[in-house]
Amino acid sequence: MAKIAIDPITRIEGHLRIEVQVDGGAVTDAWSSSTMFRGIELILKGRDPREAWALTQRI
């Protein structure tokens, strides 16, 4: 049984890590992690609602 981690996954927008467990040539389990956090929701809280589009379009 082997565990393979691919990090970074390229050619995507954002940061992603994939880990898979391989048993006898077949994937038996897999995990994906988004490895970057900014807290856009926390930043949006309490702001003028008219600004929301500008912040969220930059996610």
Partner: protein, 376 residues
């Protein structure tokens, strides 16, 4: 052909770019940098011989919008120019390799040294930097390693330059700018949300031609791109001076293209060359499409309030006017500096005008195409 030993001109020739197009590109870059036209020759000569500098493009707390801006470069003849001026050895969004292979490519470039590091996105420092990890390492760690043997660092976009969105209150991840962390290497900021790829190309061309980063303001922004206030070059400026303001979205003034200051335009407090360089191939810019400038090239612009009226000092005409001074006999150093400054401004304006004019010539379809031009 080895990308480390081949000069740029032969590389571009191999990609199908003619000598004529190459010279045109050099002239455009001189214009974008607000340099006199004669520098086009020097730029062409330097670029022809230069070895394409390796680049490591690091993405941290970003939205990839600045990468999009980079990839959307289409002028002058030019996604290929921008991409080929640089040898981009590592860029997560566009590189073919992933995982260990990607990290290995980056390591080779760092070991060789003398590369450019381009940073996109802010760097989180809270909780020991866990809010952005790549390949199991924190952004702080990756940045420090990449810049250790670098020649220079360019922070693209407002997040890398000033902290941007992640740093907006309450800054949940302790995000900081590149300059907050990199102290022993030259750092140039190209803020904007996103930044404009014309300014990155011009900065790189300056670096390759003169061996140094262009002159910068106190926020490490190149003066050729951030030396002028948006308000001063705005096409709606006449309406501001005439007191003609749009007061509501869609009202008569808005429909007539009047000044957007009352609707929150930050043009009077923002410095960027958007009015002259514009976006999407020079097609338009936010103010041209009816929305005020949001001041995205300024630090902490998210705290200004998108629709708050910008705080500006208002000047009226003075009640008395000083007499006109006659010709100066001897030039004292402060006067010389002033004259130098004014000349710089004049050259800047000329450069912008030249850039616009040269850019327009680049559209082949409007006047029967390049072919008819070639035959002359």
């Amino acid at each position: 052909m080895n990308r480390f030993t081949e000069g740029l001109e032969s590389h571009l020739a191999r990609q199908g770019m003619s000598r004529r197009e190459f010279l045109k590109f050099s002239a455009l870059m001189a214009a974008a940098l607000a340099l006199p036209k004669r520098y086009a020759t020097q730029i062409a000569e330097s670029l022809a011989a230069v070895k394409r500098p390796p680049v490591i493009w690091l993405e941290f707390q970003d939205c990839a919008g600045c990468s999009e801006s980079f990839l959307r470069a289409s002028r002058p003849t030019a996604a290929e120019v921008v991409l080929d001026v640089l040898s981009v050895d590592y860029h997560e969004t566009i590189m073919a390799a992933s995982g260990n292979l990607a990290e290995e490519a980056k390591k080779q470039t760092i070991d060789a040294g003398g590369h450019l590091v381009i940073v996109e996105g802010s760097i989180p420092t809270a909780e020991d930097g866990i809010y952005c990890c790549i390949g199991g390492r924190t952004a702080v760690d990756i940045l420090n390693e990449a810049v250790s043997s670098a020649a220079a660092v360019i922070a693209v976009g407002s997040c890398a330059a000033f902290g941007g969105i992640p740093k907006a209150a309450p800054n949940p991840t302790g995000a900081v700018s590149t300059l907050d962390l990199v102290k022993d290497k030259p750092v140039l900021n190209l803020p904007g949300c996103p930044y404009n790829v014309v300014n990155l190309t011009a900065t790189v061309v300056h670096f390759l031609t003169f061996g140094e980063l262009p002159a910068m303001d106190q926020l490490n922004r190149p003066l050729f791109a951030y030396g002028a206030r948006i308000h001063d070059n705005c096409e709606r400026r006449g309406h501001f001076d005439a007191g003609e303001f749009a007061l509501q979205w869609g009202d008569e003034g808005h429909r007539k293209g009047w000044c957007l200051y009352r609707l929150g335009c930050k043009g009077p407090v923002a410095f960027h060359n958007c009015p002259s360089v514009r976006w999407n191939d020079g097609a338009n810019w936010p103010v041209g499409s009816g929305h005020g400038c949001i001041g995205c090239s300024e630090p902490d612009f998210w705290e200004m309030g998108l629709y708050n009226v910008a705080d500006i000092q208002k000047f009226g005409a003075p009640s008395t006017f000083a007499p006109v001074v006659g010709p100066v006999q001897t030039i004292a150093p402060p006067t010389a500096a002033l004259i130098g400054g004014l000349t710089g401004l004049a050259i800047g304006a000329a450069g912008t005008a030249a850039y616009m004019q040269l850019s327009k010539k680049d559209h082949p379809d409007e006047s029967g195409g390049n072919n008819s031009e070639e035959k002359k």
